[in-house]
Structure formats: structure tokens, C-alpha cells
């Protein structure tokens, strides 16, 4: 059994009297794709925000590669090896497709405080960005502004940014939300490609059961902020408690 790359220990956040995430302890290992499921409002995205640092935990710890990152800012956590894709598309709308990816690689390579050279002179960053765009098949749109892209292409670009970031832990929050039936498989193929790397830990918040069935090695279920089930997809899906109480009829339908 490989060492876990990401561990949350009693992770909790309260907003006033409401406990959004309630003492969630969970370890994620490289080479594993974990789907995080649960009804709306179960705290899935909040749990993600606690891990990537957009929200500070009330109590509990987040450990990445054996290092406590609970007190770090989002950017420091990214530097430490965490990669986060957002549920609502979150890109630089008035910059080009290429620049969106190039900026990620520039951040990863820590060249942002370079004031004297020309950004376009860093050919290696541009070439790598082009290679990533090629992989996600966005090369034709490289000089378009992101705001001119279709929703599906924007989601693809978000995955491209994750690939460019090369984190140890990939966090996808409903990557196919709002995508058409034809577009979604492209994203899923890309995530499958990421998962194929045995060093990559992948966390995936997803509602679509067919997606979970085809990709997930493990499912954890959140309900009212608490972790209520954790196991192999078949086991969790078969669990009557989970089906009826927390996932509704969706599971049995599929």
C-alpha cells in the first residue's frame, strides 16, 4: 500500500451555527481516483475549498505529502503540489487560450518575479503550453480570448491548466457540469489519462453515476458535512443506507 499523499484529519468548518464540514478524516493515495458524492449542500465543494485553502478550517488538519498545509494560503498550497479545478469555470477571460496555460506553467516554474526578460522570450514555457493545448485538442483556438470560447471548450481549458500544473493531487469539481453529451467524454478521457499516472492522486466531485462507475476506484459519501460511507464503488452503491438516504433514487436508476 503506497503512502497517502493527502490526508484530512477531523477537518471541520462552521459558518455561524451551521457545520458545513463535520470532522472529515480521510486519506487519499497516489494511483487512486476517489469520487466524492452526496446530495446538494452535503459540503463537497466546501470540503474541496478547505483542502485547497480558499476557506480556512475551523479545526482539523490537512496534510500534503506528509507536510501540514492547514495554515498555508491557496497559492502556497498550489506550490506544495495541490491542483484545483473549479466547479464554475474560473479562467482569465480576457487573456488568450495559450496565455491561460502559459501562466500556469510560469507559476509552476516560479518565474513570475522575473522583471527584466520578455515573457515571450521564455520559449520553453510557450512550447510546453502548446504541447498541453495539443493534448486537449485546443490548438486551433490558441490565440482566441477565453471569453469567446464555448462552455465546453472553457472546461477543457480548465483541465488543460491542471495538466500543465502537474500537481501531485488533482481536484476536479464537477468537470462535466453543463456540458453536452458529445463534449463530456473528451473531458472524461483526459481525466482517465491523468489517472493513468500511478503517481497522481485524483479527487473528483461528481453527480453523474455513469462517470463515477467508469472512473472511480473508490467512493466517499458526504452527508450534512459528515463522511458517511467510504469504499469500493460497488460496495458503496450497493449499500442500502447510502442509496435511499443520501443519494436518492439516482443510483438504482442507472
Amino acid at each position: 500500500m503506497p503512502q497517502p499523499s493527502l490526508v484530512t484529519q477531523d477537518l471541520t468548518v462552521r459558518f455561524g451555527g451551521h457545520v458545513a464540514v463535520d470532522r472529515v478524516s480521510c486519506a487519499f493515495t497516489p494511483g487512486e481516483l476517489t469520487a466524492i458524492v452526496g446530495p446538494n449542500g452535503a459540503g463537497k465543494t466546501t470540503y474541496f475549498n478547505l483542502i485547497s485553502g480558499q476557506i480556512r478550517a475551523t479545526s482539523g488538519r490537512v496534510t500534503l505529502m506528509g507536510r501540514d498545509i492547514s495554515g498555508l494560503s491557496p497559492s502556497a498550497r498550489t506550490e506544495a503540489g495541490l491542483g484545483r479545478a473549479f466547479q464554475l469555470t474560473n479562467l482569465f477571460p480576457r487573456l488568450t487560450v495559450l496565455e491561460n496555460v502559459r501562466l500556469v506553467i510560469q507559476a509552476r516554474e516560479r518565474r513570475g518575479f522575473n522583471l527584466w526578460t520578455m515573457a515571450m522570450g521564455h520559449r520553453d514555457l510557450i512550447e510546453e503550453a502548446e504541447a498541453v493545448l495539443d493534448r486537449v485538442r485546443l490548438t486551433a483556438l490558441r490565440d482566441q480570448n477565453v471569453s469567446a470560447l464555448s462552455h465546453g471548450d472553457q472546461r477543457k481549458l480548465e483541465v488543460a491548466a491542471m495538466i500543465a500544473l502537474k500537481p501531485r493531487v488533482f481536484m476536479f469539481d464537477e468537470p462535466t457540469a453543463g456540458m453536452s453529451v458529445e463534449e463530456a467524454p473528451v473531458i472524461l478521457d483526459l481525466i482517465a489519462g491523468i489517472k493513468a499516472d500511478p503517481a497522481a492522486t485524483v479527487l473528483l466531485v461528481e453527480h453523474k453515476m455513469d462517470v463515477i462507475r467508469s472512473l472511480a476506484d473508490r467512493i466517499i459519501v458526504l452527508h450534512n458535512g459528515a463522511l458517511v460511507a467510504d469504499g469500493k464503488p460497488a460496495e458503496v452503491m450497493a449499500s442500502a443506507v447510502v442509496q435511499e438516504a443520501y443519494l436518492g433514487k439516482e443510483l438504482t436508476d442507472v
Binding site: 491557496p74 507559476a107 522570450g121
Partner: protein
């Protein structure tokens, strides 16, 4: 050529011609437009290009609204004045004053940035407004150091004053004032090219990314606060250097010439008219703005006389109404060029 411009081409033939014209006019101003008033205007254009461009670095690239830019400008100017008063006339005093002003501006900017940039952007704007007002009051009260409301006259080395004569080139007498102009011109050119380099560097790209989506920039691993703080410092230091040049050129510094809210408003207007986040907008905007400020009155006087035979029109064109027309010009330009002159020229390419 592209190396000098840091790979940032004007991207519009009209803009390229316009920039070349402005550069040539400023480079040969003493010979093309003899006379002290036109030289005064040319020097003011040079200095304001740098001042406005340094504000564009902050606002147009970093997306940070500051009202303290004239304070930094003033720090550079007062640095030179105070150093000269203490150390006596000479180039060392000018250098020490400019350097001290620049360092002080950088430190104050860093302090403001670290205190307020973590919070919301509007908070930063309010803090800068408060500090700038406080400093303006302080400067007018501490008359023992700053000369108070009267300001300070600066005795600069004789080689930079009109009293120093060198001879004649192309029918124009070369004196120290012209040497002084070229000091201003070349320093401003170098500072502008430096800023062009900064905005096209990896750092400049991060600033644009932060302006577009700070949340995202933070998420992909950029420490937004540090980038914003550095941008604030750089912008303040360059503004201070522009202030030093202004003081050397005018041989005078006072609250109204450097610290006033009117100048802050002028800077804001020029950035918006020229085009935010373009750098070249500062050049075109400043040239048009300063020319209008200085010559619209004269132009209107001429037009008013030329139309004296007609009813009403001479009254409308009376030189006394120049501010009204300047205001109308601004409203029209903001209405028709919401992305500024440079944005417009690049967009309609």
C-alpha cells in the same frame, strides 16, 4: 527595434505613426519649437508620460486604484529640493535627493500595500486617499523643512540653467535650459522603456492575470499580495523619479505643482483617455492632454477673432470658456473611446 520596445509593437499603423511623431517632436523640441513656453510644454509632456505610465502600471496592469500617486511624485520632487537646500547646489545633491525620494516612496508604498492590499481593493483606494491628504497637509504645515505653501526654490548647477551658454546650432542658441531639457528627455525615455519592459516581462503577465481574476491567479500558485505590493512599490518609485526630474526642470517645488488633487485627477483622466493597460496610452494621452491644457486657450482666442463677424460663435469660442471646451472634449473622448485612444486604434485595426 522590437527589443527596445520589449516586443510590444504598437499593433496599429496609425498608432505607430502617432508615437513616432511624438517621439521626434519631443526629441527635437528645442529646435523645432523654439521659445521657452513650448520647451516648457515639451518637458511637461515628457515628465507626465512617465508619471502617467507609472500609474498605468498600477491601474491598467495591476488593477489597483490608488489616489496617492501624486504623493510619490511629490516625494521625489521634495527629495531633490530638500537635499539641495541641505547639501548645497551640485550634482551629488540632485542624485542623493532623487535616490532618497525614490527609496522613501518605495518604502511608504510597501507599507501601504502590506497594510491594505490583503483586504479589499476599495480599502486600498481609501487608505491611499487618506495618506495622500495627510501628507499634503503635513507638507504645507512643516514650513521649516518644506517651505510650506510657498514651496521651495531649488538652486541647480549652473550648467542646467539658461545662464549657461554654449553656442548656436541651427539658429537656436544652446544654453543650459536645453541641456536640462535633454536630461529630462533621456531620463524619461529610459524610464518609459523600462516600464515597457516590466509590463512585458513574466512579472507583467502575472499582474495582468491578477487584474483579470485574482482568485484564479492565487489558485494557480501566484502570491497575489506580493505581486501587488511589488507593483505598488515600482510604480511609486518611478513616480518619485519623475517628480525629481520635474523639480530639477522647474527649479521649484510646491504643494500645488506636485501634490495637488488636480494633478491626481489629470493623471486619472489621461490614463482613461489614452487607454488603460497599454503603456502607449500614456504617451498619446499625455501629449494630447498637455497640449490641450496649454494651447486650447490660444487656439480659441484665434478662432474667436476669426469668427468675429458671425453672431454668437465668437462668444462661444471666447478664450475664457476654454475649460468648458476641454470638459466637452473629455466627455466626448470617453464616450466614443471607452477603451481609450490606444484601445480604439488597436481594436479597429
Amino acid at each position: 527595434m522590437m527589443r527596445i520596445l520589449s516586443g510590444d509593437s504598437p499593433k496599429s499603423p496609425v498608432l505607430a505613426v502617432l508615437l513616432a511623431l511624438i517621439l521626434l517632436a519631443l526629441a527635437f523640441a528645442p529646435f523645432l519649437f523654439p521659445g521657452s513656453r513650448s520647451l516648457e510644454t515639451a518637458a511637461r509632456i515628457c515628465i507626465f508620460i512617465v508619471l502617467v505610465a507609472s500609474y498605468d502600471l498600477l491601474l491598467g496592469y495591476g488593477g489597483i486604484v490608488s489616489f496617492a500617486h501624486t504623493m510619490f511624485f511629490g516625494m521625489g520632487a521634495y527629495g531633490v529640493a530638500i537635499a539641495t537646500a541641505r547639501m548645497g547646489t551640485g550634482y551629488p545633491a540632485l542624485a542623493v535627493g532623487a535616490l532618497a525620494g525614490m527609496v522613501a516612496a518605495g518604502l511608504v508604498a510597501l507599507l501601504i500595500a502590506l497594510l491594505s492590499l490583503r483586504v479589499r481593493a476599495i480599502f486600498f483606494a481609501m487608505i491611499t486617499l487618506a495618506i495622500a491628504s495627510a501628507v499634503a497637509v503635513l507638507v504645507s504645515q512643516l514650513s521649516a523643512i518644506t517651505g510650506g505653501e510657498d514651496g521651495m526654490n531649488i538652486r541647480i548647477p549652473r550648467e542646467l540653467t539658461p545662464a549657461f551658454r554654449l553656442g548656436e546650432v541651427m539658429g537656436t542658441g544652446i544654453n543650459g535650459k536645453i541641456l536640462n531639457y535633454y536630461l529630462v528627455f533621456f531620463c524619461c525615455l529610459a524610464l518609459f522603456l523600462l516600464m515597457l519592459r516590466i509590463v512585458n516581462s513574466p512579472f507583467g503577465r502575472v499582474l495582468q492575470a491578477i487584474r483579470e481574476n485574482a482568485f484564479r491567479a492565487e489558485a494557480i500558485g501566484y502570491r497575489v499580495v506580493l505581486y501587488r505590493a511589488l507593483a505598488t512599490c515600482l510604480s511609486a518609485m518611478i513616480a518619485a523619479l519623475a517628480g525629481s526630474l520635474f523639480a530639477i526642470w522647474l527649479r521649484y517645488v510646491g504643494p500645488a505643482t506636485t501634490l495637488g488633487m488636480e494633478i491626481m485627477m489629470d493623471i486619472l483622466l489621461i490614463v482613461v483617455i489614452g487607454g488603460m493597460g497599454t503603456m502607449y496610452g500614456a504617451v498619446v494621452g499625455t501629449a494630447i492632454f498637455v497640449l490641450a491644457q496649454n494651447y486650447l486657450k490660444t487656439l480659441m482666442g484665434g478662432m474667436s477673432e476669426a469668427t468675429s463677424a458671425l453672431p454668437l460663435i465668437p462668444d462661444l469660442l471666447s478664450p475664457d470658456r476654454w475649460l468648458l471646451w476641454l470638459g466637452i472634449l473629455f466627455i466626448l473622448s470617453v464616450y466614443f473611446f471607452p477603451t481609450g485612444i490606444v484601445g480604439r486604434l488597436r481594436g479597429t485595426r
